[in-house]
């Protein structure tokens, strides 16, 4: 039995503050959320990517946290690209199962936006395969564009379907005070007319970098949020190494394992935070996670089923698209949103009657995936 007692996160945005300050802010919110002090934390799992261009160059994030909190306890750093947050939670759950720790603080943080955006892009594309892809002119959007091209041509999904995903997530992000695009109106026309980055993906099909940190407290003590499923799966690094790209094995396997642990089915999920690094990824994920049959994701978005007022609201936070994507913080921020939704604390974007919630966090173009299922007690 494993519970989430408290959650916290900074606003995701372009604030130029040191990582330490963002970590502190998110951790204090999480501690305050469950009314415990730092003295009750027995271990920390932290995730960060050491972005070279942010001027901090702090590689030893575990020890950095020891200094920051003045705590000499086990602190483990987990780095896993864009799935760092989910992987940190997955790791913390296994640590907790060892029986030695009562309260584990799980933190993801990233400082990305304080330098030239070309530097950031250069950093981000390192999520692509190094030797055999990057010198061919591949970057991260291009790798995902190849996947999107194949998926869309086989299943007749269109650029308009992708635009609907972006529009939905921007509408949700508009309502989220912690989102980078909070109160920023984006029209469907702006989305459809945005420049092509790598066909078929336009600028508004891509998630937006941000600075931010998110934290949660995982505990043996009963709370109102129980973790009932936790899975991680890994696949080959480059899309070209895989049999096909229209579904992601790591996503399918992690979902199957998480459902099995939870003893529930895709139909039971009431709200989900999915890894919309690109709008096409959200569509493919609907299928990989079992929310619809293969090739039918376009129907879900066309019929508004994943809208805020639909049967299965997806990315009520705005997702990576509109909330922002501070790499290692993203996976924890997904849990933050789900917990807020399950506690009816999501303000204007509140969804009703939630029992089961899912978070899916992806590193690379389907290279590794974590799936977590939460239950409202």
């Amino acid at each position: 039995m494993m519970f989430i007692r408290g959650v916290g996160m900074t606003k995701f945005g372009i604030q130029d503050v040191p990582s330490g300050q963002m970590i502190y802010e998110s951790a204090l919110e999480a501690l305050g959320d469950c009314g415990i002090s730092m003295n009750e934390i027995d271990a920390i799992v932290v995730s960060n990517n050491d972005i070279i261009s942010n001027g901090e160059r702090q590689r030893h994030s575990a020890s950095m946290l020891s200094s920051l909190f003045q705590k000499k306890i086990p602190i483990v750093a987990v780095t896993s690209g864009c799935s760092g947050g989910g992987t940190a939670l997955w790791t913390a759950i296994r640590l907790q199962k060892s029986g030695n720790y009562n309260n584990i603080l799980v933190i993801g943080f990233e400082k990305m936006v304080s330098n030239l955006s070309s530097k950031v892009t250069d950093e981000m594309l390192m999520g692509a395969e190094r030797l055999y892809e990057q010198s061919e002119g591949m970057n991260f959007p291009a790798a995902n564009a190849l996947v999107a091209q194949q998926y869309m041509s086989i299943y007749d999904a269109t650029s308009d379907d992708l635009a609907l995903v972006a529009y939905k997530n921007h509408q949700n992000g508009y309502l989220n005070p912690k989102a980078r695009f909070y109160k920023k109106k984006i029209s469907i026309d702006e989305i459809k007319k945005s420049p092509v980055v790598a066909s078929p993906l336009r600028l508004f099909d891509c998630s937006i970098p941000a600075n931010g940190a998110a934290a949660l407290i995982l505990s043996k003590e009963k709370s109102d949020i129980e973790v009932i499923g936790s899975a991680e799966e890994t696949d080959y690094l480059a899309p070209f190494e895989r049999e096909d790209m229209i579904s992601w094995d790591a996503s399918k396997k992690a979902a199957a394992e998480a459902y099995k642990q939870a003893g529930i089915y895709p139909d039971d999920i009431d709200v989900a935070e999915l890894h919309d690094a690109f709008t096409s990824v959200e569509l493919i994920s609907y299928e990989d996670l079992g929310f619809c049959k293969k090739g039918e994701a376009k129907e879900l978005i066309r019929k508004g089923i994943t809208n805020l007022n639909g049967k299965l609201p997806v990315n009520t936070s705005g997702g990576l698209k509109a909330k922002g994507h501070p790499i290692s913080a993203t996976g924890i921020s997904q849990i933050y949103e789900l917990v807020k939704q399950m506690r009816n604390e999501a303000g204007e974007r509140q969804v009703s009657n939630i029992k089961y919630a899912m978070a899916q966090n992806i590193g690379g173009a389907g290279s590794n995936v974590t799936v977590h299922i939460l239950k409202k007690c």
Partner: protein, 131 residues
């Protein structure tokens, strides 16, 4: 293992001109990129294998915002090519009018990128329509 075969040595120094992978001597599995151990049968007896350079378009995308170094090539088209012998690889596609999935292509040597205006020009494999 050092190979004294002169032709092979020459080809290796001109690596960019060939799609070199490896072939398992035990189970004949083909790999790209090269491997030193067969992932099908666990044998470590592998030899270089030069692919014939023919394949089909598996997926494609035209890039307008490139990684550093490729600015002057924009827009360019990248694709996953399924080689006739089986393995897939990522490469640019050039000299086409209308690109379609399943289209037959063959490899050719073209400039990949250069180190600035007066720097070294790096050549490598790209693909073009073969019909």
């Amino acid at each position: 293992m050092y190979k004294s075969n002169i032709v092979m040595a020459w080809r290796k120094t001109n690596r960019g001109n060939y799609i070199i992978g490896s072939k398992c001597k035990e189970c004949h599995a083909l790999f790209f990129p090269s491997r030193t151990r067969c992932t099908k049968c666990e044998s470590n007896k592998l030899e270089d294998y030069i692919f014939n350079g023919n394949g089909k378009i598996f997926a494609h995308s035209t890039v307008f915002y490139p990684p550093a170094g490729l600015e002057k090539q924009v827009p360019y088209t990248v694709a996953i090519i399924k080689l006739d012998e089986g393995p897939k690889m990522t490469a640019q596609v050039v000299e086409f009018d209308d690109l379609k999935v399943g289209m037959k292509v063959q490899s050719c040597v073209r400039e990949l990128y250069s180190d600035g205006k007066s720097g070294i020009i790096h050549y490598g494999i790209k693909f073009r329509p073969s019909d």
